[in-house]
């Protein structure tokens, strides 16, 4: 049985979708899961823009999703210091600071998060994010005041599915085969939209491949996202034809 994932980042791009002031196009791509030569799942997934765009506000560049042949690693929660809210893994338990529990809402300053050791540490001290900002973000995404029980703000969602160029074809990541900077993941915004039953508003990424959370769940159930799975990311100008 042969299985592989194919991603066509420019599948839904149109000439009319050129980003003003650039020659780059945006829009959705198509992810196809093929089993024994048959497409068993197709879903929209949004990669990067077709050409690099510098963020006029000074943020990270928007780069195209790298094309080529890759091999997947197993899904795992992702953490990075590059993005403010992604410094804590999705699902990490959080709670009010016990000494602040009876204070007025806006007098509370901090939130604790649970370390892997089981001890609790300060989000404010470790990451510079105070309780007000966490509560605002929670309200922004979920329209609920207060703070959630777990960290649900990581920009990469509950798990990221990373991949690498398998230079020697052994389906294992060797020392000279680093993980690609691009990866499959959902977004905190899309996870919230799914939870609230809203329309999923997919957006182009900085180079990763944004999955609809429902598609991630379905493809995970189909065991498409598992270590060793082949992935081909096609050029932007190639459209999928069954």
């Amino acid at each position: 049985m042969t299985e592989s994932l194919h991603y066509y980042p420019g599948h839904f791009h149109k000439a009319s979708d050129i980003i003003p002031g650039t020659t780059s196009s945006g829009g959705g791509g198509l992810l196809v899961f093929i089993k024994n030569g048959k497409a068993v799942h197709q879903s929209e997934a949004w990669g990067g823009y077709s050409k690099k765009i510098t963020d006029p506000a000074g943020g990270a560049d928007y780069t195209p999703t790298p094309t080529g042949r890759f091999v997947l690693e197993n899904p795992a929660a992702y953490r990075t210091s590059s993005w403010l809210m992604s410094q804590i893994k999705w699902g990490t338990p959080i709670k009010d600071v016990p000494s602040e529990r009876n204070l007025a809402e806006d007098a509370k300053t901090d939130v604790w998060y649970r370390l892997s050791s089981g001890k609790w540490a300060s989000v404010s001290k470790d990451f510079g994010i105070d309780r007000k900002f966490i509560a605002k973000t929670y309200y922004d995404l979920y329209q609920l005041k207060g703070i959630p029980k777990t960290w649900i703000f990581n920009a990469f969602g509950p798990v990221a599915i990373r991949y690498f160029r398998d230079l020697n074809g052994n389906k294992k990541r060797d020392k000279n085969e680093p993980l690609d900077g691009s990866m499959f993941h959902t977004t905190a915004e899309n996870e919230a939209e799914l939870k609230l039953g809203k329309t999923i508003d997919m957006t182009n990424s900085h180079g990763c491949i944004h999955l609809n959370p429902a598609d991630r769940a379905q493809l995970t159930g189909m065991k498409a996202f598992r270590g060793g799975m082949d992935l081909v990311i096609h050029p932007y100008n190639k459209k999928y034809t069954p």
């Binding site: 980003i19 403010l84 529990r101 994010i129 605002k136 005041k145 182009n204």
Partner: protein
């Protein structure tokens, strides 16, 4: 009657026994003449009285350097907490919320505003889905934004939903001179697509501009504010970075009138609709030219968190939780 006499007698007796110099008894209520401290919010009444809400969630009404009521629990007003206040000739609007539901250690909140007069009477109350992050007064009505929805709180106690958010980040509200809504939203440190999202302010379909201020932690107050005929917009170079510039726009057209660089600023406030004061140096800048005008002091030289003015009186609250009169030190 006899019981009431006993209460007054007992209070006088206790005050006498304790030889507390700042304790007097009037109509059964213990009062104090030292200014309260550890304050989170202030509101100013037309007659110069203040309402102060402490970090302990209790409030007092009184005059600066004058007589203060005893502390009342905030729950007496029907609120669990206050976010900010607005002053009007009818009283002070306490804008906050109340606990909606609890789950284990987590508590969720709904929005509530109450109008209270300087005799501690509750005059009106409004409930809505969530707490306001910004609000202004127009013709005696509070118009406020929850970040997602904008409501008008009408004098009959009803609320009108007048706008729903259509931008990526939470919205705040400013009203122009005719009560039209100007909607603003900040940039975000979250990993969202900034190319397809709008961050700035707009007034209906009349005008909009891109802004460069960020959603922030409690250290910064970065929403644009109205000051007289002007809209004051901060400039930041990133999340949790100091405000590096101030821009003055015409409130009716959104047109940029003036801008200047500033440093070490994390909050700016409007004084008497005529000038802007920055919280750290307590320097004011006249509008719309943004020229340095005066230096102020509030409880020594503590950084100012909020100011309220009514006529000639301008009360201030410092970030340390002390109250004072905002007073000009000298002309620049």
């Amino acid at each position: 009657m006899i019981n009431a006499m006993k209460v007054i007698h007992n209070i006088l007796f206790v005050c006498f026994l304790l030889t507390v110099t700042n304790c007097v008894a009037v109509t059964g209520t213990t009062q104090h003449n030292s200014n309260p401290s550890n304050i989170n919010h202030i509101g100013l009444f037309e007659n110069g009285k203040l309402i102060v809400i402490g970090k302990d969630n209790k409030y007092q009404i009184g005059k600066f350097n004058g007589i203060w009521s005893k502390k009342f629990p905030l729950q007496k007003t029907g609120l669990d907490f206050v976010n900010f206040t607005l002053s009007s000739d009818k009283g002070v609007f306490l804008i906050g919320g109340l606990k909606h539901k609890s789950e284990e250690t987590l508590v969720y909140y709904r929005g509530r505003t109450v109008l209270i007069d300087n005799d501690n009477n509750l005059i009106n109350k409004w409930d809505y889905d969530s707490t306001f992050n910004s609000a202004e007064l127009f013709n005696g009505d509070v118009v406020g934004s929850t970040g997602n929805n904008i409501y008008r709180l009408k004098k009959d106690g009803k609320t009108d939903l007048i706008h729903k958010r259509n931008r990526k980040t939470l919205i705040s509200i400013v009203l122009d001179e005719n009560g039209n809504t100007i909607i603003c939203n900040p940039r975000t440190a979250r990993k969202v697509n900034t190319l397809t999202s709008k961050f700035g302010c707009y007034k209906g379909s009349e005008w909009d501009f891109n802004g460069r201020w960020y959603d922030s932690t409690n250290k910064y107050h970065t929403e644009p504010v109205r000051c007289g005929k002007w809209l004051i917009e901060p400039v930041q170079n990133g999340f949790n970075k100091d405000i590096t510039g101030l821009k003055v726009r015409d409130l009716n057209t959104g047109k940029l009138i003036n801008e200047r660089t500033v440093s070490g600023v994390n909050r700016f406030l409007c004084i008497n609709n005529k000038s802007i004061i920055v919280n750290t140096s307590l320097t004011s800048y006249s509008l719309p030219d943004l020229k340095p005008a005066e230096s102020f002091s509030c409880h020594g030289n503590e950084p100012v968190k909020s100011i309220m003015n009514f006529g000639e009186l301008t009360a201030c609250l410092t970030e340390q939780g002390n109250i004072g009169k905002l007073e000009a030190k000298h002309k620049k």
